[in-house]
Symmetry: C2
Subunit: 162 residues, 2 copies
Amino acid sequence: MRITELSETACRDLLARLGFGRLACSYQDQPYIVPIYFTYDRNRDSLYGFTTMGRKVEWMRSNPLVCVEVDEVVSHLLWSSVVVRGRYDELPNTPQAEHRLEERALWWQTAYAASQIRSGPHPANAVFYCIHIEEISGRRAIADRSESSVGLFHAQRAAREK
Amino acid sequence: MRITELSETACRDLLARLGFGRLACSYQDQPYIVPIYFTYDRNRDSLYGFTTMGRKVEWMRSNPLVCVEVDEVVSHLLWSSVVVRGRYDELPNTPQAEHRLEERALWWQTAYAASQIRSGPHPANAVFYCIHIEEISGRRAIADRSESSVGLFHAQRAAREK
């Protein structure tokens, strides 16, 4: 297997395409990870997301340093991964913020369900946030020629097991 | 969509079955995430992994508080996620440590490739580690009856796109 660095453009392309990853925040040096859906805004070079009040939000208000990771794993020998170091920023809970996120309407359901809210499309405890990207890096693994048959085997097996 | 808490047994079953997730560590309250492969040891209630020297190891030596997240996402409406709060502990670089991990031999290749080491099966900068689980929790989402046709649509589309 050979690992190469992804260009910053390739990293941003992966963020824009996947729109799903994991967010880590930290409070008193105890890290915490949650899966998130987000939209990537190329003009502002920022990620936009939605959640509901909880421990994660309290921690990020206290310490806005966060990390986001996205990956696409086809097999042990064929994967890409991007890591973002960023800064959490809360947005006002307005129709504009809602509008920015509506194109990924499905993931609202995740946040809604997490808080078991059934009260309507704009809950009072909705938290819209933005993560300003401060550093981005990524890696891609591809199989060496000698490994490619092994990689193909695993990819095929993974596909069969779906 | 309805979200339910996973029992601790179900959480541990998911850890054991997936063996792949993301590890967050933190240094001076800056969190950092890396994808990891691991084995779960039920008797010791710990995760075992292998890496090579780098920023992640330096940070965890300085601050052993870590978080591991694993998830299995079929669609927006059908997923499971487990979060572990744990403590990083380094193991001696011995054949015994190697043996414990050999059943997941494939993932050695990831760590090897990350350091571009080609020098043999037991590199000098190999770092074997254990994460003692201190807290574990998980959630599972399932579609409501009204959503199940939507969930099925997405699962089928995801399968077609593989």
